[in-house]
Symmetry: C2
């Protein structure tokens, strides 16, 4: 089973890769770790595949590029090798129970760069977990935004994508509040409907439309730090690969 963690810089991809990996190992599974971040300085796990062996952002910055240019350039350099990486990962999938993929720090280097789509399209039925931070849920539109953003990732990478609220350890008291909106799209819609602004109307329309396309995708609540939600994540991964297996 291959799990790919995607999210903005700081959403917890690297921490979750390490911690969820440890959890799986304790459960008796063997786990391979893949690092696709050319900019990371140190990792809390030992990667079986590490793109930094080919190129790092720091190397490129030393040759004169700014940080943004260097990040883009590093994935330009990796792109011709995307298929080789996918093959390596697929081989590891045969050997290991789980392969955990930790993606670039900046989400867009994966989502909008050929490197990401080329790699993903060469994996068999990859499952993506889209991590978002409680911090981005400021107003009601944002709840609708994260649900739709998961669909954008699904569409762009042609991969089933599960949205996951990470860092729930820091919102202990408000978790039920968040869940009320994230889990109950009907309730969210009914609240959005009361908002007379242009964006309120847009959010309402988008949110009301969501059940048409995502009826079956559940949302995960995780803490990479405390380990909350790891069992459910394991179940979701198992069900995904189970179903795929049934269909092939």
């Amino acid at each position: 089973m291959i799990l790919t963690f995607i999210g903005t810089a700081g959403s917890g991809k690297t921490t979750l890769t390490a911690k969820f990996g440890q959890y799986l190992e304790k459960e008796g599974h063997n786990v391979a770790y893949i690092n696709l971040d050319t900019g990371v300085k140190s990792l809390p796990y030992t990667p079986h595949v590490d793109v930094r062996e080919m190129i790092t952002v720091e190397q490129l910055m030393k040759s004169g590029l700014g940080p943004n240019g260097a990040i883009v350039k590093s994935y330009d350099i990796l792109t011709p090798h995307a298929k080789e990486y996918a093959n390596e990962i697929s081989k590891l999938e045969e050997e290991f129970d789980y392969v955990l993929i930790d993606t670039p720090g900046q989400m867009e280097s994966f989502l909008f760069h050929d490197f990401g789509s080329n790699l993903m399209e060469n994996l068999r039925e990859p499952l993506v977990v889209y991590l978002f931070d409680p911090n981005i849920l400021k107003n009601l539109y944002d709840y609708c935004f994260v649900r739709f953003f998961a669909l954008m990732i699904d569409l762009r990478l042609s991969a089933t994508t599960i949205p996951a609220l990470n860092k729930i350890d820091i919102i202990k008291n408000e978790l039920e509040y968040y869940k009320k909106y994230l889990d109950n799209l009907e309730y969210l819609s009914s609240r959005l409907r009361l908002d007379p602004s242009t964006q309120g109307y847009l959010a309402y329309k988008l949110c009301s439309f969501l059940p048409d396309v995502i009826s079956s995708v559940r949302l995960l609540y995780l803490s990479a730090i405390s380990g909350a939600g790891f069992e459910e994540l394991e179940t979701v991964a198992y069900e995904h690969y189970c179903t795929c297996g049934d269909l092939t």
Copy 2:
């Protein structure tokens, strides 16, 4: 009038800010330039406001952070000042015909970070131009993706967002092909309908739903290098502020 250019690293925000500014100046307008990128090394315009006076990614990397961490940290540092920046920009709007805002190299530093939303919510009726590169249009889903992505920006920043295909100078021969799908959602839907895959169905559903929410937003075709589409961009900006004026 305030125009904010948003897009992934390398989509042409900085080049367009400079070139469209020059165009407007030639047309007799006076133009203010705002740089919000803490990571850019040199700019092709002289900024009236420049966040690098407060903090740069390079400074933070010298103190030991990796590039991703340093980018995030730079916007953490700017966030408490977002409102001051918005006030400065609003003051410039009174003095200048146009204020052009060049956003962070990595789109997510603006779209997912409080700095971006706090700044935008303190501007009056900001207009956003979402730049995307022809390179990301690989398969039919991607056409649907970019149209929806513009809505995601609209929702997240509560700002009218116009999608714009940039760099049309490099796709001269294929431009009509791109337009056929981007401009005609019905045609795109009818093609997506033939795709039996899960993502094909998702793209079809999303695309068929689009006319319900974006009927009036047109798409721009630009080249920051050749100046193609600048007149239309000027018109779109004018119409946006005209309408807002009528409503207030």
